[in-house]
């Protein structure tokens, strides 16, 4: 039998597009025949736009979502810019899912703190919606969501944020770096939300994703709170060109982020220079 070529994308349909902010757009993608992507929360896909190129994009929908999967794309490069021009019914190339995400099995019975900075919410939303799925929620302890954004105008998934805030089984805290009109909540970087948390130090894990500068400070803060390194999970951003551990662009010391990550237990990468 002919071995499958790992570089050839599948052609998928865009079934829904929603502008979220000035820079970010939401896409709902249907694979051929409505096949499930079968991803873990935190995994990514390589998305191709015909004629333009390919870029790694985090999957944002729950592991349990049927028939299609979702992503949110920030307009920063050639591919993402070209995606802005696409319409419902247009085609995209999809490869993946790639790498390792959050192993929710390991989180069962535990309290989960989710710390999302800006667009870092995109992959973490996949985790959130997986663990708060009605059939799943009872498997986990407390679910605490910390979300930080530059301004309230840059909030993603606003409707969902409201539901999370309302739900009794989710502790939701949000902050903005800069107050704009109409904002009455917290102002300050995301680390300011951490000291006030009351955590069961022995039975909590934290999942972190955000801009590169955020990690160092969030980790310091969680450590000073008393969490151990093995309780921390981070999702790293790198230039993942091939997605399959060959091209070398995402390599941090001896690991390929696209293969072993992008989600790592912090103990695994804390000794890696260049990681954070």
């Amino acid at each position: 039998m002919e071995a499958k070529n790992i570089y050839v994308p599948e052609v998928a349909d865009i079934i829904k597009i929603e502008r979220m902010t000035e820079l970010e757009t939401f896409y709902d993608i249907k694979l051929p025949g409505g096949r499930d992507l079968g991803h873990e929360p935190g995994q990514f896909v390589e998305v191709s736009v015909f004629g333009i190129g390919e870029a790694p994009i985090s999957v944002s929908s729950s592991h349990f979502k049927k028939g299609s999967f979702e992503m949110v794309v920030r307009n920063v490069g050639n591919v993402t810019q070209a995606m802005q021009k696409l319409k419902v019914g247009d085609k995209l190339g999809i490869r993946g899912p790639f790498g390792h995400g959050f192993k929710t099995k390991d989180f069962e019975g535990k309290d989960i703190v989710i710390i999302a900075g800006g667009i870092g919410l995109v992959p973490l939303r996949s985790l959130i919606n997986t663990i708060i799925d009605p059939a799943e929620r009872k498997k986990y302890g407390r679910v605490i969501i910390l979300y930080g954004s530059k301004t309230k105008e840059e909030f993603l998934f606003r409707g969902e944020l409201e539901t999370w805030e309302k739900r009794d089984d989710i502790e939701y805290h949000v902050t903005v770096d800069r107050k704009t009109s109409g904002w009455n909540g917290n102002v300050g970087v995301i680390t300011t939300l951490i000291p006030g948390l009351k955590l069961d130090l022995h039975n909590t894990i934290a999942a972190i994703c955000g801009p590169p500068v955020m990690y160092k400070f969030v980790i310091l803060s969680l450590r000073s709170k008393g969490l151990k390194d093995n309780q921390l999970y981070v999702s790293l951003e790198r230039k993942m060109k091939c997605g399959v551990g060959k091209c070398g662009h995402c390599q941090i010391n001896n690991i390929y982020v696209c293969q072993e990550g992008p989600v790592f237990n912090y103990t695994y990468i804390e000794d890696l220079k260049e990681a954070i």
Binding site: N5, I6, G93, K239, C247
Partner: protein, 330 residues
């Protein structure tokens, strides 16, 4: 002991016979140096050569190759046709083939890269002994001159003739067709090859040297001389990093996605969409290359991704030597 041998002057005839069935790739002169090339006239082949400009990887991982073809209108992606015509690689040094074996490991383990692997089918390797020059250090990285791993046939040079050893069934079948060119000869032992050890320490355990070497002054010192031109990566038999880009033929619906040899020495290599580069300092990049060779990547037998061909030293305009850098760490 007695063995089969071939006289140097009969080699072109032997190659001519091979050419009836195979594409033959062999070293030929190019100015002051050598290159591997498809052979039209077997007389051009040189068997006494030091190193070619580029390693054999250019045949399996070309400087630029199409990964995916597509049509903008039809909105389809297609795998390009990947040819693997039966090929004999003739007159190959053993470190060279070790380079290919490292690439086989890189592309054949984990997710399999068929674009590479398809070209590795139908290959026959005929090795030849070599006289190490000032740049070779294969022995220092665990590749003695008599290592014959991977070859189908191996030619050991005696003065004016080569002892012919068939090492695989494919090799045996070729040697049997060569009978008219071969003669019986007797020999006592293989010629002694003088090889100066270039590394202070053997490769066993060399990975440990990198523990605690992250802030060693040698990185900064070396980086002061380095242009970051990427030559060392490009000429390396075991470097395989690549960049990927799309192109549409102007005025048509034909598009393609290609990969191109890349270099971890270039600033943009680690840059992400937001503009941040994760190895921004030149010394970070110098360290990454050396560490990748000897610590980050090893094959299944724990052998480093350096085969001691010396190309990166020979071809560095800034005269940076991987062995000098390693010795500074040892």
């Amino acid at each position: 002991m007695s063995a089969k041998a071939i006289a140097r002057e009969k080699i072109p005839d032997a190659v001519l016979l091979l050419k009836t069935k195979y594409r033959v790739i062999a070293p030929v002169p190019k100015g002051k140096t050598f290159v591997f090339k498809k052979i039209d006239d077997p007389q051009e082949i040189v068997l006494d050569y030091n190193t070619t400009i580029l390693p054999l990887k250019k045949f399996f991982l070309p400087p630029r190759e199409v990964l995916v073809e597509y049509n903008l209108k039809k909105q389809e992606y297609r795998e390009p046709e990947i040819k693997s015509e039966p090929t004999v690689f003739f007159g190959i040094h053993n470190y060279e083939l070790q380079g290919i074996l490292r690439l086989d490991y890189a592309f054949g383990t984990g997710v399999k890269d068929e674009t590479y692997l398809k070209k590795r089918k139908n290959n026959i390797f005929i090795g030849v002994t070599y006289t190490p020059d000032d740049f070779h250090f294969a022995k220092s990285v665990g590749i003695p001159t008599d290592l014959k791993e991977g070859f189908d046939i191996f030619l050991t040079k005696y003065n004016s003739h080569y002892r012919v050893e068939a090492l695989t069934d494919k090799g045996k079948s070729i040697v049997s067709q060569w009978s008219e060119f071969l003669e019986e000869c007797s020999y006592d032992s293989d010629p002694v090859v003088h090889f100066k050890n270039k590394l202070k320490q053997s490769v066993a355990g060399i990975r440990e040297v990198f523990h605690g070497a992250y802030n060693h002054p040698v990185w900064k010192e070396t980086s002061k001389k380095c242009y970051s031109c990427g030559t060392c990566n490009l000429v390396c038999p075991t470097c395989y990093c690549f960049d990927v880009s799309d192109e549409v033929v102007l005025g048509t619906n034909r598009g393609s996605r290609s990969r191109r040899w890349d270099s971890c020495q270039i600033l943009g290599f680690t840059e992400v969409a937001g503009g941040e580069a994760f190895r921004e300092k030149r010394y970070d990049r110098v360290r990454h290359r050396m560490s990748r060779k000897f610590a980050y990547i090893m094959d299944d037998r724990d052998r480093p991704f350096c085969v001691g061909c010396g190309r990166c030293i020979r071809q560095c305009t800034a005269n940076i030597s991987i062995t000098d850098v390693m010795n500074a760490l040892l």
